[in-house]
Amino acid sequence: MALNQPTTLLAELTYRCPLHCPYCSNPLQMTRADAELSTDDWKRVFTEARNLGVLQLGLSGGEPLVRKDLEELVAHARTEGLYTTLVTSALGLTRQRAERLKTAGIDHVQISFQDTDTANAERIAGVRSVKQKLEGAALVKALDLAFSVNVVLHRGNLDRLAEIIEMAAELGADRVELANTQYYGWASKNRHMLMPTREQVERSRPIAEAAIKRYKGKMQILYVLPDYYEQYPKPCYGGWGNVYILVTPEGRALPCHGATQIPHLEFVNVRDHALEWIWTQSPIFSAFRGNDWMQEPCRSCPRKELDFGGCRCQAFALTGDATNTDPVCSLSPRHDIISGALAETTAPLEYVYREVAAAGSE
């Protein structure tokens, strides 16, 4: 098959983060600061990514603001012509840093919020954070930066969807991303506490649809349903090794967040290989590229070019075989796993909080 050029690089600059959100997609085993890529490593990766065809750069983490070289990295990305989004909690976003980011040419700042209810927001974040987030949002507005609000949705906040959308509008967001939790890393560990009930999902859908219409032309609303409640799986990052590259803080290049869980994949590091080699030659990026790896019912499915059989990592995590149909698909012979998970929506909300201290094996 012809090899696509990638369009998107997600750079997880660090796992360090002042927040402890139980829905975090970061792995349970997180590397410490001393294992992180250097400024020069990241700059080289951004240049190599642009030369491969990448246009979108997400600077994420952890909290990217803990990297003192963030402004330098943004400036380099912009020089290369990448559309650069900062994905931040806003903790640590001082006026000075916000001004420097603007000067460096940041295209878009996305600030996470956990809830409209302060006590619950801070319970989810595991730390006092609401005041700083509101100040960060005000700062981004004062500097006239392009601004998105991001709220990860789950059982503990989905009932306030309408209020969350109103909050984003009041903050002056250009855009709001409302994505139900995807179950990787810490989120997978907390699935019992995060999974919304069917009633919640059914109540939320018309609220989102009405708001999308109401704010048309003023605030763009992106609403992502929980895939566990969908009929078909999500087209995970546009297909394995098709458009998307994730680079972890220590330099591992991955086709998907959950890829580290799949055994027998040979992980490659941007310290050891050029990104072009990783994209075009590495076994990991071609492991599930195209559809030769597919089993039934995917292999003969008319939707296989639409959703690529769903997420390989989710298929592995839930069925033990990464070549299986993602069990969220209603056509999957293992769809009973999803029905079982949806029956678990009564667990008390006793979150397992994300923390680096619990890991750091390297």
């Binding site: 050029q5 369009t7 998107t8 642009r50 030369n51 491969l52 065809g53 246009l55 979108q56 012509g81 559309y83 989004t85 295209d107 878009h108 996305q110 392009a146 998105s148 250009d174 855009r175 048309k216 032309g217 763009q220």
Partner: protein, 91 residues
Amino acid sequence: MPLSPAARPKLWRLARIDYDRVRQRPVLLYPEGAMFINDTGKAILELCDGTHSIAQISAELSARYASDVTVDVTEYLTTMFDRDLVRVAEH
């Protein structure tokens, strides 16, 4: 529904027109997206500054291309409006 000739489209402030030196073509970049555009699309979007009406954009480009492009311009901008990539000022 097509936009009215009096509508004054403005490129979304989160979107910017760039040139992709790898694919050697103009591209519209915006959060989590990229849309490859041709030179005509680029010419239309460059006039979407919130001051020109669709009628004015059509007139200018019809003169430039020596052909009436009103229908194409209106269709293109309607699609871009539906995709949230251009906004329309109240008039």
